[in-house]
Symmetry: C2
Subunit: 336 residues, 2 copies
DNA sequence: GTGAAAGCGCTAACAA
DNA sequence: TTGTTAGCGCTTTCAC
């Protein structure tokens, strides 16, 4: 079925296409003409072609959401928040799942360019360099979860350091004496920040043991392997901090398989799976404000698209989703 | 930074824009010219504007994925599958989260129309009538998880009846004598199909009790409430079938809160949360092929976009993700 | 095989 | 205020 164009509407209403365009865009038009135009629009069920408008105005209502893993509930919640804000502003999100694969990332950067999208919300895999071409073109990019090392990119993060401090300190408050940490890949900023927090808190509480720090892939399997490694140490820990949601569930599963009773080893985790409401004794969950990060990033990106040229912002949210004045610990040490 | 157009490339190469277009699209061009053009393309970092091409050819590489809840792991896995297939074919997915809200659904239908997208993969909320306008325009729509009642729409489903039969039969095999069922809203097709299967299997095993069938909202809270209701019956069930993943976790959480030991009441569920690997005694999980549904739907949609005009397909996948010749039970009874 | 020219559907100068 | 016109960047006849 053919679609009505602005010319057909104009012909039906006996006006010029420009007048129809003005009615559509809210420019002043003589009331009499406006009614005729509106009638024609209704009659023909006219809806302007976004792509034609987009070509002409060089704008578009399509922005990219680039995330490593859409099956990770953290990113899913983030996506939800971003989608919610963006749809209210009339924008749609293009879902770009990268599997943490730089090639996939690059191919989506290409799509963003080719579709001339006005901006992107991006959780970069390791180094954010893939996205620099977008910034070079003047497309605003808001980094979430991990930074893009570029002064032009805004960033919205959780206060990873504070969260991990809380998770670790709780261990000592509970009476744990030997606290281990299962974190992610050393290239990943959040993994480093949380490991660093663990180290600091342990140092304050009698010292951190190097063999109690396990770098994994931030996946359930990695968490399970890490648990096995830790419990097979000559002197195993009696408290464990899991630095993300997936390592946490992997580790908990492994604990069950080893027949460890809940509470026997204290566990605290940065973020947990949604719906995982089992109130296990000896388990603390420090929530991450995933949804708020998505919402905040979306608002920031919208402002940039509207023309905000102020210096790049670096927003940090605490676990309640509130903006924290300054990151509790900005400098994260390099990987060991 | 300005973007190179086809005219600039043409000028640099000393050819006409048409020739550049031919090089880009693989039409035969004298090798000598082709090299000149390619050099100019590389030099200027030329990439054709998809939106301009799209306006001219009336095609687009942007298809919509309409799902009720991006935080539900079932839809997340489905999205992953669809994205994977689509990206390989050069298409991108626009994420349309509807919260099962018909208004949101309608607004996304509008977007699909306005952007002139060539098709959509859709998990309709209740009635699929919202999407009929798209079919009227000749845009292919593939329904997933739930049907759209229209002979023009393809559909890809799990074999919900078979899955629920398995979940219910297992209860009797385990020695349960009084088997209840917690399902979703009666308007939802999958909720009805699974309830129906439960009813049939119970009937074969000595009869189904009406008060053992609980209609919920398919959410964790609903599952928890249903458990409380069931266990407070004069004669409570000793086996429970949960008809979806979220009711299942809600119910399990409520069991823990009531201090019921694992295995005391047998539980079988259609689908479970990913990473929920606790091997609880007395718990059976019948997986749903979410990812395969997404992949299959994407392939079907691609074929339609390519011009396939064969009659609408109704694909049913078993829990392994394999195509089942015919639905194990096509007629689902109306809600009671 | 190649170029000139028209046109996809819209908006924005510019004139009237 | 309104209409005429040009043009966004591409593809595609149609001549050559």
């Amino acid at each position: 079925m053919r679609m009505a164009t602005i010319y057909e509407v104009a012909a039906h209403a006996g006006v010029s296409p420009a007048t129809v365009s003005r009615v559509m865009n809210g420019t002043a038009v003589r009331p009499e003409l406006e009614t005729r135009v509106r009638e024609a629009i209704a009659l023909l069920e006219y809806r302007p072609s976004r792509r034609a408008r987009s070509l002409r105005t060089n704008q578009s209502e399509m922005i990219a959401l680039v995330i490593p893993d859409i099956q990770n509930p953290f990113f899913t919640a983030l996506a939800r928040g971003a989608e919610h804000v963006m749809r209210q502003a009339g924008y749609s999100l293009v879902l770009c799942n990268t599997d943490d694969n730089p090639d996939y990332e690059a191919s989506y950067v290409q799509v963003i360019h080719d579709e001339r999208m006005p901006g992107a919300i991006v959780a970069p895999s390791t180094t954010g360099t893939t996205f620099l071409p977008l910034l070079d073109e003047g497309r605003p990019v808001v980094a979430v979860d991990r930074h893009i090392e570029d002064p032009r990119a805004d960033a919205v993060m959780a206060d990873n350091f504070a969260g991990a401090v809380e998770a670790t300190q709780w261990q000592f408050d509970q009476g744990s004496t030997r606290v281990a940490c299962i974190t992610g890949p050393p290239q990943v900023e959040t993994a480093r920040a949380r490991a660093h927090a663990w180290h600091e808190v342990c140092a304050r509480n009698g010292g951190a043991l190097d063999e109690y720090l396990v770098w994994t892939d931030f996946q359930p399997g990695g968490g399970a392997d890490a648990l096995d490694y830790l419990l097979d140490l000559p002197i195993p820990p009696n408290g464990i901090v899991a630095a993300n949601n997936l390592t946490a569930v992997g580790m908990l599963g492994a604990m069950v398989r080893r027949g460890i009773n809940p509470g026997e080893i204290t566990v605290s985790a940065c973020e947990m799976l949604p719906y995982f409401s089992m109130p296990l004794p000896g388990l603390l969950t420090v929530p991450l404000p995933a949804r708020a990060i998505g919402e905040h990033a979306a608002r920031l990106l919208l402002a940039r698209i509207e023309g905000d040229t102020s210096p790049a912002k670096n927003v940090v949210l605490n676990s309640e989703g509130e903006v924290v004045p300054a990151p509790s610990h900005s400098a994260t040490p390099p990987a060991t």
